[in-house]
Amino acid sequence: MNIIEVKNLHKIYKESEIEVHAVRGIDLIFEQGEFTAIVGPSGSGKTTFLNMIGGLDKPTEGEIVIDGVNINELKGSKLIDFRLRKIGFVFQAYNLIPVLTAKENVEFIMSLQKRPKKERIERAETLLKAVGLGDRLNARPSKLSGGQQQRVAVARALASKPMFILADEPTANLDSESTRNLLEIMENLNKMENITFIFSTHDARVVKKARRVITFDDGKVISDVKNKY
């Protein structure tokens, strides 16, 4: 099943006089259950692309259809609500609310979805156990390591039951041990629960785990290798 369809996507940043053509005509289709890495040199447009398919930024040209909805046509709070229901996010940093505990951070996204309190608490605990943080439920982010924080972010992204999870360089700030650990968790979730992950990375060890690798250069897709095992 196709969940994301991208057609002729362009993004031009205009900053005063200078125009930066960050994405130059990308056509891609993503399917349910993918475990996809987007790679490419710095400045090749990976973040720009992920932000657009995540509904965080508007394309200059082209179409993004997610679950049958052209998200360019969603405005303001409709778009925010769409993100809340359909997309999970894991960023490189600043993922969590510092004043809330790990459990509350995971609960928080479900409270935005107006889920009942009991369900929120149970699901938050289940998910944090699944990412190996069953014993750190009540720790605030500042008391967690970088890798643990990213695992909370993954649990948070899963909590909202999204169609797919976007992760822009989720391991960039992690040491190799934490990187391997996080990847393992993501892989397991993908295999066991058929959760779709699309992530960008510079890390060759992370790329190795991906089952589809899309390579960007200068705002274009230069290769797209699927079903790699």
Binding site: L56, D57, I80, L84
Partner: protein
């Protein structure tokens, strides 16, 4: 959950929040104490004037009210007094013979109002009997003929002392000039120098003997109330019973006294608004810093699905909490200070000469009404809401894509 996040957020930067809260606290303490002092003193001023001289309501012959001519008096004053004292809300009633005249000493002569009073009954209406300092005589005690109470102010003017003799001249009932020699038995002093200077008190019986008025007449009936809020109802009740008499409240008798109070209230309202406005700007500034500092976090929240209303609400709640905490401490501390000084009094005697000549007491008992705290709480919350608008707008205008970029 938003409420708890907002509450926790204000304690993230304890120093900064502490500074804002302290500013709000101190600003409010300053404001509330000033209001308390002004309000307490103007309240005391009115109370003193009512207690010492004016009473809440006075009743006269309608023509007497126009130019104080003694030929216009109330007949049957005794039965009138009895009827008045039955009206609900009336605490006490007392009638007087009141004649304009001259006080003559060997040194000088001044125009005065002679109050012919029933000394015992007068105690239920005015506090003059408590205003004779030790060593300045007494309130009509053990005296034989024509005793008189004069104020220290008048004594000074006429160069009189305790037991001095002075001659009063006035019109008797009918119009012929007459007079009598009186002996100073007490020298009183109230906070109202202006009224002190023009009023003397003698026994009604002495004045009747000299003027020929009957025992059952009065120029003035003073009415005290149990509750100042009953003023208008009691007044209309009296008018219903005595449509031919002139019934005036203290506000009508002393319009300037009432005006000063109203004016004071307005000044204090403006004063508090200015303080809150200044604090509001301080809060705006702080919250702008908060938003700036949390760009990435707010961007992340918007990215994962927190809508603009919730972001706005979160910033607004934080701002309101800051003002409420500061406001709450400020009001609590002020209430404590006001309670203490409201009992003990604040002595402004270093500037009291000036104050007293305007009828203000030198010892002020600061106080504010309970309703003031309610209005102030409302205004503090309003300040918080208004101060949050601009920072909150800044926050919701953030573009999540820019905000989450880690390289930016």
């Amino acid at each position: 959950m938003l409420i708890s996040i907002a509450w926790k957020n204000i304690w993230r930067n304890k120093l900064r929040s502490g500074v804002v809260i302290t500013a709000v606290t101190l600003g409010l303490i300053g404001g509330i104490l000033s209001v308390g002092i002004m309000f307490g003193s103007s309240d005391q001023h009115v109370k003193d004037a009512l207690n010492d001289y004016i009473s809440e309501i006075q009743i006269h012959h309608p023509k007497y009210s126009e130019n104080n001519e003694s030929k216009y008096f109330i007949k049957n004053s005794e039965s009138t007094e009895n009827v008045l004292s039955q009206i609900p809300g009336v605490k006490s009633v007392c009638s007087r013979i009141k004649i304009v005249g001259m006080a003559n000493s060997p040194e000088a002569a001044v125009g005065i109002v002679i109050n012919g009073i029933n000394p015992e009954k007068e105690k239920t209406v005015t506090d003059i009997y408590t205003k004779i300092p030790a060593g300045s005589g007494s309130y009509f005690e053990n005296t034989k003929r024509n005793p008189i109470l004069i104020s220290s102010k008048l004594a000074e003017k006429l160069k009189l002392h305790l037991r001095s003799k002075l001659i009063l001249t006035f019109q008797e009932n009918g119009g012929t000039m007459t007079g009598g020699a009186f002996r100073v038995v007490g020298i009183f002093k109230t906070t109202n120098a202006m009224l002190d200077e023009t009023n003397v008190f003698v026994r009604k019986t002495d004045l009747i003997r000299l003027t020929g008025f009957s025992e059952n007449t009065a120029h003035e009936i003073a009415v005290r109330l149990t509750d100042k809020k009953m003023l208008e109802t009691v007044k209309s009740e009296i008018i219903k019973k005595y449509p031919n008499l002139s019934v005036m409240t203290w506000k009508e008798l002393q319009p300037d006294l009432a005006m000063v109070t109203d004016f004071m209230n307005q000044m204090m309202a403006i004063f508090m608004m200015i303080i809150l406005l200044a604090l509001g700007f301080g809060i705006v500034n702080t919250m702008l810093m908060v938003v700036l500092e949390r760009i990435k976090e707010i961007g992340m929240l918007m990215a994962v699905g927190m809508n603009r209303i919730r972001i706005f609400t979160m910033i607004m709640l934080e701002t309101i909490f800051l003002s409420i905490v500061g406001g709450g401490i400020g009001m609590a501390v002020s209430a404590g200070i006001l309670d203490y000084f409201g009992r003990v009094g604040m002595n402004f005697s270093s500037v009291s000469k000036g104050l007293e000549s305007f009828g203000y007491s030198a010892v002020i008992y600061p106080k504010v009404e309970v309703s003031f705290y309610f209005i102030l709480s409302f205004l503090i919350i309003l300040t918080g809401i208004l101060a949050s608008v601009y920072p909150a707008i800044k926050a919701v205008r953030l573009n999540p894509a820019d905000a989450v970029r880690t390289d930016a």
